[in-house]
Each structure stands twice: as structure tokens, then as C-alpha cells.
Symmetry: C2
Subunit: 311 residues, 2 copies
């Protein structure tokens, strides 16, 4: 058994996007095993257990990931993750992977796949609400699939906004009010908000939105009115209903599960699509275990390895 | 983060029994978080993901365990396991534990707790059907709680039966037909059978049975008629209905969930009990994640440690 860390170093983001896209295609075709992630609540946060089996990539395993908002003052990331990979033939654990950075990257990759298939344009003004690690991951991954002509970013902390802009010197990057950031072709929201931060009237026709932040019951970033103006695609219906952008509107009776337009997997295999250039499309991302396996497949070729005795 | 292996060396079985009993007590009081284990099917077996949080022992984590019956000819155990332990305050993974032997031991401990509370006698003739690792673990753990005056063992392979008997030289140990092995005070069944191996008429009044083998849909060891003569206690109702001894009889309409007498946790806290010395009691064990955490709590003080960089 090996322990692997720093596997994100030198990963090719285009290759990651491709692997994650292939996992979504398999998901769309019903070829994966992936029960909904399981939540355990801890005193100051939670952790989620995400097992899956992705036959087409010949990989099976479990990601374990926590969310602890009080961690940064302690010098620890809010989100940390391990992925355990099992041998398909024998079930033996063969790798334990430090998946903290990989988690950012695979979520970025899902956003990139969604934007690739659902954006009405190939050259885009990219709006970004939120300036954390996931905002960076989304921009980095999307830039591999679409040509970004400008970034319009909004964050509450000017220092974080500046740091974000410095990270993407290759694009014109402007700090804006949230309303102006929403005036774009593709919008990415990556806040931990529990109340809408994007008003429906700020979003014009033809926009695609990656709604990334809501990943637990009670979280939401978008005005529920906007959901009903849009085609909402989810990564996985069960997870999205439980903990995605649509979870709060559904629990309040402001959105119905029957209104979900389809899954990203169905979009990737061509079964579902943006209905017109003027449609508003939303990708409601909760994060799937198959994304973690897809990136693990590549990551296992990289990083530092420690050999451990097992069994 | 540490990787720990060989933690079973030098573990005190009485201490393990006590820790597992305490976990069952918390379970009986509704103080634990433990969703039902999640199964993923692989080409030649399966693996199960078992997250939990046990506040009274201040421990949270996930066990990942496979079942691959074709492994032994390959020189690998059928069952192998890892337990990941997370820091309660920060969610950071702090330990990855080789839990293969610990899995045997914690299942043995649950059997010992069940026998301690449900056996009608303190001095017992112990019947054992099956001679594998779990049969040994049951006998070793039960011997810490009850005085074993004789072991009556049945196994299909005489070589395995002899090996089993050699392991327990401290007790009179006799190989028997299954019928004669069932003429005992406490019976342990640990086979991977998918059809009953114990007939109802072989079991006399007052017997307690640890039904250990059935741990997946389709598995069963006991005549369904016997279930209806007995008080059946489960470790966890959801898991037992899905994959315990009662799963096949329930699916065939031969047993009803309403007939379950209670949980082992309820027995430990005194809420449920054996109704009379003549009652037949059955403990339907599927294996709980809290058992894995209870033994991990002790095991982390033992074994070989490897320091690994994280995050």
C-alpha cells in the first residue's frame, strides 16, 4: 500500500478535465456505482464519506472529506481530504492519497465541463463571486475549455480580491460589485452563503452559471426566482436535492425536483442540452465521488510516494 | 498523520470487550451517529464504507472493508480493512489504521458482549459452527466474559477443525456433527452460508446464539423457524434487515421486522433482556462502525507507527 501526497504538482488541468468529463459521461450512461455521500456532523463541522466504483477507468475507492470553517485561524484548511483506492480484483487498499488539493481541482474540472457544454459562447466574460481556493480552481479549469476575455470578480475582502487577481495576471481582471460581476457570459459562485447572493434581475439571458458553493443542507447562493427562469442541471439528483443549490428552495416549496432539467452526465452524452442561446443555464455542483476517482486515476502517477506495510 | 499497523499485537481482549460494550451502550441511548454501511459491488466481491462518530469516546472516522472470497488462494485474506480516524475539532485525518485483524476482534467482542448479557448461564458449553478467523475471535472474546467448560465444534474441513482445536488447548474441545455442536448453552455460527446450516429442532430451550456469518444480502445460517421461537436482538435494525441473519427470512416473508426483540445496545443499558431462562435468544450481528471506532480508540496506543506528511 502506498501513501501519496503532493500529487497535484504538475497535474495537467486539461487531462484532469478530460478524465472528469469521461466520469460524467459514464454517470450519464448509468455505468457507475455511486451511492449519495454520507454526512457525519462533528462539533465544529462535518465530514462526508464518498464511495464509488468507476468501471470504465477501472478504479474504485472512497473519499473522506471534512468541512470545518473555523480551521483557517488554526493554520489548517477548511476542507481536507483523503482518497482510499482499492484493488478491483482483491479489494485490497492499494493507495491512500492526500486529496485536499485534488478536491479543489476536481470540482474546478466539473465546472469546466459544465461551462464547456452549457456556455452559449466559446469566448466569454467570466464573472466570479467569491475569491477562495475554489474560485481559483474554477477559473484555472474553465480557462482550459473556453477563451476568457475578461474576469469580473466580486469578493467581500479587498485583500482577497487583489490576491485572486494577482493569480490570474494573464486575463484582464476587474473587481466589481456583485451586480456588475453578474453581467457576464459565465458566472461562477463559490461562497459558503446560506442566503442568496445573486439576485435574479442581475442575470441576463444567455448566461451560464456554475453554482458551486452550496454543498450542504441550508446553503444557497442564487435567488430562487432565478432557478425557475433557468434550465438547472445537477451533478447528481439525490445529492443536489439533499445539499446542492436547489436544497433550500425545494425545502421551502420554491422549486420542485421535477423542474430539474437533467444531469451534467446527460449533457455530456448529448441526451440533454441548452435549449437556446438565450436560455439561462445553471450547473448545481455538489461534488461526486466519481470525480474524485477520475482525478485519483491521474494523480496516482504523480507526487511523493511512501510505501506502507499492508496487509 | 500516522499510519498504524500490527495494533492487534498485545491488545487486551477484556479491554476491547469493555470498549465495544460502552459503544453499544451509547448506541442504545441514541448517542452515536452511524448511518447504515454502504455497499459497493466489485467484480469478485464488495467493499463496505462505515462512517461514524462516537462522542463518549471522542472518536470519529470511517472503516473501509472488503469481502473477496477468492482471495485466499492468492495469499490474501478474504476480508481486509482500513480505518481512518479524524480529529474531532478540525476534521483532519490523524490516523490510518490497518484494521484487518481489528475487524475480527471487534466482531468477537460484540459476540462476547451479547453472550455476557444474553446467555442464561455464566458457565457454558460453547457450540461453534465454522472454524475460520471469526470463530477463533468469538471464542477468545467470549472466554473473557463467561467460563467455557467445553467447546463443541463443527467444520466441514477436518484439517481446519484440528487447527481450531489446537488454538484452544485450554478448553476441552471436541469435533462434532452440527447437530451435536448445537447441543450447547451458547452457540456461535460463523459460516459464509447462503442456506440455513442450523435446524430449529437442534436448538434446545435456554440456548443463546451469536449469528455472525450473515453480513450481506442473501446470507443466512439459521432455520427461519428458529427465529420465530427466539428473541432476536440485532446490532442495528437497518443493517440487520438489509444484510443480517434476518435479511433472507424477511425478504421471503418468513420473518417480520416487528418481531425483532430489540438491539444489543438496548440490552446493555437494561432496556431489553432475555425474558426467561428457557427463552432462546439470538444476537444477529452485522458489524457496526462504532465497534470499529471503539477498538481503534485502544488500538491507536499500540503497534508500529509511520509518520506521514499531511495536509
Amino acid at each position: 500500500m502506498q501513501y501519496l501526497t503532493d500529487t497535484d504538482m504538475g497535474l495537467d488541468l486539461s487531462e484532469v478535465n478530460m478524465s472528469v468529463e469521461s466520469a460524467f459521461a459514464d454517470h450519464g450512461r448509468g455505468l457507475v456505482q455511486m451511492p449519495p455521500k454520507v454526512y457525519i456532523t462533528l462539533p465544529e463541522g462535518d465530514f462526508r464519506t464518498m464511495p464509488a466504483y468507476l468501471p470504465s477507468l477501472s478504479i474504485a475507492g472512497v473519499k473522506i472529506v471534512n468541512v470545518h470553517p473555523n480551521n483557517p485561524p488554526r493554520g489548517l484548511p477548511t476542507v481536507m481530504a483523503l482518497t482510499i483506492i482499492l484493488d478491483l480484483a482483491t479489494g485490497q487498499p492499494v493507495a491512500v492519497i492526500n486529496a485536499t488539493r485534488l478536491t479543489d481541482m476536481r470540482t474546478g474540472a466539473a465546472g469546466a465541463v459544465a461551462a464547456k457544454y452549457l456556455s452559449a459562447k466559446k469566448e466569454i466574460v467570466l464573472g466570479v463571486i467569491g475569491t477562495g481556493r475554489q474560485a481559483e480552481a474554477q477559473v484555472a479549469a474553465i480557462s482550459r475549455e473556453l477563451k476568457i476575455t475578461e474576469i469580473r470578480v466580486h469578493g467581500r475582502n479587498p485583500v482577497h480580491v487583489r490576491k485572486f487577481a494577482d493569480r490570474f495576471m494573464e486575463f484582464p481582471c476587474h473587481a466589481m460589485t456583485p451586480e456588475k460581476a453578474c453581467d457576464c457570459d459565465v458566472l461562477v459562485t463559490t461562497t459558503p452563503s446560506t442566503a442568496p447572493v445573486v439576485k435574479s434581475e442581475w442575470i441576463h439571458e444567455g448566461t451560464h452559471i456554475n453554482a458551486i458553493g452550496a454543498d450542504a443542507p441550508g446553503k444557497e447562493e442564487l435567488d430562487p426566482v432565478l432557478l425557475r427562469r433557468a434550465q438547472v442541471f445537477v451533478d447528481d439528483p439525490a445529492q443536489a436535492i439533499h445539499s446542492g443549490e436547489i436544497n433550500v428552495p425545494i425545502s421551502k416549496g420554491l422549486y420542485r425536483t421535477e423542474e430539474i432539467a437533467g444531469t451534467l452526465g446527460e449533457v455530456v452524452i448529448g441526451k440533454k442540452k441548452r435549449l437556446s442561446p438565450n436560455a439561462i443555464t445553471i450547473f448545481d455542483s455538489t461534488g461526486l465521488a466519481i470525480q474524485d476517482l477520475a482525478i485519483a486515476k491521474i494523480a496516482m502517477q504523480h507526487g511523493r510516494k511512501f510505501e506502507l506495510p499492508f496487509p
